[in-house]
Amino acid sequence: MLAFISRRMAAAVAMLLVIGTIIFSLLIIVPGDPAELLLSTGGGSASAEAIANLRVNMGLDKPVLTQYVTFLYNTARLDFGTSIVDNGSISSVIALRLPRTLEIIIAGTIFALLLAIPAGTAAGLRAGGKFDITASAINALLTSIPGFVLGTLFIFFFAQVLGWLPAGGYVAFATNPMQHLQMLVLPALTVGLHLATIVFRMTRASVLEMRGHDWVRTAVAKGLRRKRVVRRHILYNALGPIITVVGLQLGILLGSTVLVEFIYNWPGLSGLLVSAVEQRDYPTVRAVILTVAAIFIGINLVIDILSSLLDPRIRLQ
């Protein structure tokens, strides 16, 4: 187990190095000059001299190789450095933003799991029944609604027509817990509903598969209560694939919150990336991408460990 984890960790570090290099090179060939951009915000312009001076201040006059080595060295020390736009510490901005993105994702995931696992189980147990047909049809429809369409429609109905919830924005939990939670509802619902459709399908398929196994017949033959058979001999076994899917989705969600954060003006990590790309704030772009990739790789690692805990067959290998 330990060897397994350390091997995976080494692979993860190598992967991050490759990703960092790819991002670094991408940003070099990209058009757009952060210095000129900063001094042209909103449509103005500055003198060529001022722009040149700002480039020096930003450290962009140094040779590319020097910049690359500095970047690798600093990243290895887990130091993301400072933004070239406002000289703020990137690590502290990420530390502030990441939890907010995770908050939407986690709230959405809880919603998705609470909704989809019972529904998926019920549908899987009675595949072809009325509930299954209804739920599967609704699910197919929901799967087909892209998140940004759902978000736009949510704002339209819940905020503008009905006026039940704020249209978007963010207030720290510490400032106003009630308002914070109100603002969380729509983004979390948008993320959660989409995830729920995936979890539902997976749960249904997994339960359908598990319920056909011989050990389920054994459990019934033992005279176990139906509830217990379902929980312990169908659902518990089905959890492995469900966890894998949820885990993978969490990683993907980390990226796809871009649209959700945009629509709801939620100041999360994705929004930081978007504005950093707009401003050509190279260190911030690199730091955010690396963070997201690291989390993604981390999630995959955790899934592997979790599934081996759930299934002794993997553990025993």
């Binding site: 992967m15 490759v18 991408l26 940003l27 990209v30 058009p31 147990l125 009675r126 595949a127 072809g128 029944g129 197919a140 429809l141 799967t143 087909s144 609604i145 892209p146 998140g147 940004f148 369409v149 736009t152 339209f156 503008q160 398929a205 598969e209 319920r211 056909g212 196994h213 011989d214 050990w215 017949r217 054994t218 459990a219 019934v220 033959a221 033992k222 005279g223 176990l224 209560r225 139906r226 312990r232 001999h233 076994n237 993907i252 980390l254 990226g255 796809s256 871009v258 649209l259 945009f262 994705s270 790309v277 772009v285 991408i289 997201v292 990739a293 993604f296 002794p312 067959r313 025993l316």
Partner: protein, 640 residues
């Protein structure tokens, strides 16, 4: 045969739906003469009228034209990108899987790296950096999705290349490209086509999302995402504007998903929602059934008839009656598919959901001496009876235990389900049971997982578990078939011993195709063929002097050595040709006549009844048996 018909039937609706949604946008010039990019600012946001069915957008452009031409753009981008991704991914996957070595490493690492980037994030980054446009979009989407294709191709191709016929063509020196293109590729086309549709749907979503952010298709060329972006500003004044592209987008993705689901179900029916029932179908109540009078009788199956749930299909079990007594071992013998297992499952109330009991009764004397008709019991009482009054051992010890729970947990739950006791008491009881079934070091091994045990050990666990509540009836469904020969003998011996040791007069229903084993253990034998009991009586008499030609064939087919015994597995009868007929293809008259060496023309007309012998000890279902009434063959018209 069935799958082909179903394939067509189930695919018609989704195919039509999808085709319509793909064709309609491309038929735009036939539907509207309007130009999707022609601006008429004076008519901005005009309401629908006869000339502009869906009204006009914020530039006064015709919405119908825009939503149709927008579909062309969205679909083209998505399908071109998916096709490129599919080709590149399949290529990498095939090369990786077929040649292995370094190419495998490159394929999997490359995929891993791309998969590290969440799709939208990467798309957003690249499109922002390299400027929007259809070409950038196609490039980004292709890069995003080829790893998924590579992975699927890789794993599927690995499976296929290890198949015998591929190995064979390799050995014959067929060129690699011909093996890959001619043999491997067609075999992995199914999963690939499912992935293709899935990816196309995802590509449409991302394309529209990026266009929504202004990073997708470049105006004035319409695209659905862009239309949503434009209409969003006017959402309050003009909800129709945003509803139209949203609806088009959602419908198209829905059509693809729908198609994809059906395709997957058709290619891999395992996941299909075929059965409309619960996993267990309930026994049927029969009001006029006689009750068991004889205190020695533990269970009675009377005139059982089972059908599949599909309407109009013939019975899988036509007529089975059995009386099971205490201290007796009844063997149910027959080839695979004869209905032995179904009969025993019916007695457990464990019939698969697809099978229905349409006639007969199932009665049981519980440990309390109360006689119950299974058909009258509610689900909870059935649960109380299972494992407590009747227990069952299955054929496959490798899959009959849940692989992710410890043996201890699985045994303890069997005990505590019927006997309220503490966990530690139940554990002690379980250890005692394991010792009783001959497991060494039971204290330690009880905490292992099924996968840490051999098949024989697992079957011992199953037996121990079955006996945990001291049932009156134990059903053993081919308990040794899956085991190795020496272990088989041990298990049979164990069952013998246990049967004799059991204080309360255990009745054993032993299901087997192997008459050698039956001879060792059974008191009575019932032979089944094609859903019917064809011969029944004391084991010694039947095995010595079979009256039914089928029983005779079974006995003649009995393997002499243990090796053959193991290899035969009841699938083939060397003594007679042919296989048992499917329920839907049963011949008229005697169901065995096609294979029968002594069949008469009359056998085609008369379906024989189970004729009892004079002493009532045995019965046989054959016109040529000594028990058959003398005149039966002369009353053809009457019987027909």
């Amino acid at each position: 045969m069935m799958s082909v018909r179903n394939f067509h039937k189930r695919m018609i609706l989704p195919s039509l739906f999808l085709a319509a949604l793909i064709i309609i946008p491309f038929a735009a010039p036939l539907i509207t003469a309007d130009d999707p990019v022609k601006i008429a600012v004076r008519y901005r946001l005009a309401a629908p009228d006869l000339e502009h069915w869906l009204g006009r957008d914020e530039f006064g452009r015709d919405r119908l034209a825009r939503v149709l031409y927008g579909g062309q753009v969205s679909l083209t981008v998505a399908f071109v990108a998916t096709t490129i991704a599919c080709i590149i991914g399949t290529f990498f996957g095939l090369v990786g899987a077929y040649f292995r070595g370094p190419s495998e490493f490159v394929t999997s690492r490359l995929s891993d790296i791309v998969l590290c980037f969440p799709p939208i994030l990467l798309a957003l980054l690249v499109v922002t950096l390299f400027g929007p446009g259809s070409v950038t979009l196609v490039a980004v989407l292709s890069v995003l999705y080829f790893p998924t294709f590579a992975r699927i191709t890789f794993s599927e191709a690995l499976r296929v290349t290890s198949l015998d016929f591929v190995e064979a063509s390799r050995a014959l020196g067929t060129p690699s490209y011909r093996i890959v293109l001619g043999t491997v590729l067609p075999n992995i086309a199914g999963p690939l086509s499912v992935q293709y549709s899935l990816t196309a749907a995802a590509a449409i979503t991302i394309e529209s999302g990026l266009s929504f952010l202004g990073l997708g298709v470049v105006p004035p060329a319409p695209s659905w995402g862009q239309m949503i972006r434009g209409a969003r500003q006017f959402m309050n004044q003009d909800p129709l504007g945003i509803m139209i592209p949203c609806a088009a987008l959602v419908l198209t993705i829905f059509a693809i998903n729908f198609f994809c689901d059906r395709l997957r179900d058709t290619l891999d029916p395992k996941g299909a929602s075929g059965s409309s029932m619960d996993e267990v179908s309930k026994p049927k109540a029969q009001a006029d059934a006689p009750t068991i009078k004889d205190p020695d009788v533990v269970a009675v199956i009377n005139k059982l008839r089972l059908e599949t749930a599909h309407f109009g299909t013939p019975a899988v079990i036509e007529d089975v009656s059995l009386i099971l007594r205490a201290n007796q071992c009844t063997a149910l013998v027959g080839e695979s598919g004869s209905g032995k297992s179904l009969s025993s499952l019916a007695l457990m109330g464990l019939l698969p959901g697809a099978i229905r009991q349409v006639g007969g009764t199932l009665q049981l004397r519980r440990k309390s001496d109360e006689v119950v008709d299974l058909g009258f019991l509610d689900a909870r009482t059935l649960e109380d009876i299972r494992g407590n009054d009747i227990a069952m051992i299955f054929q496959e010890p490798m899959t009959s235990l849940n692989p992710i729970h410890k043996i201890s947990d699985q045994m303890i739950e069997a005990i505590t389900a019927h006997r309220p006791m503490s966990r530690s008491d139940a554990r002690a009881h379980a250890i005692a049971l394991l010792k009783r079934v001959g497991m060494n070091d039971a204290e330690r091994r009880i905490d292992s997982y099924p996968d840490q045990m051999s098949g024989g050990m697992r079957q011992r666990v199953m037996i121990g578990m079955a006996l945990s509540c001291e049932p009156r009836l134990l059903i053993a469904d081919e308990p040794t078939t899956a085991l190795d020969v020496t272990i088989q003998a041990e298990i049979i011996e164990l069952l013998q011993t246990l049967r004799q040791d059991q204080g309360n007069g255990l009745s054993l229903l032993f299901i087997s195709h192997n008459l050698g084993v039956v001879a060792d253990i059974a008191d009575r034998v019932a032979v089944m063929y094609s859903g019917l009991i064809v011969e029944e009586g004391p084991a010694a008499q039947i095995l010595r002097d079979p009256h039914h030609p089928y029983t005779r064939a079974l006995i003649e087919s009995m393997p002499s050595s243990h090796e053959e015994l193991n290899s035969a597995r009841g699938d083939r009868l060397p003594a007679i040709s042919g296989t048992p007929p499917l329920p839907s293809a049963r011949p008229s008259g005697c169901t065995f006549r096609d294979r029968c060496p002594i069949a008469l023309p009359a056998c085609a007309d008369i379906r024989p009844a189970l004729y009892p012998s004079a002493d009532g000890e045995r019965a046989v279902r054959c016109l040529r048996a000594p028990e058959a009434p003398a005149g039966v063959m002369n009353h053809q018209t009457e019987a027909a």
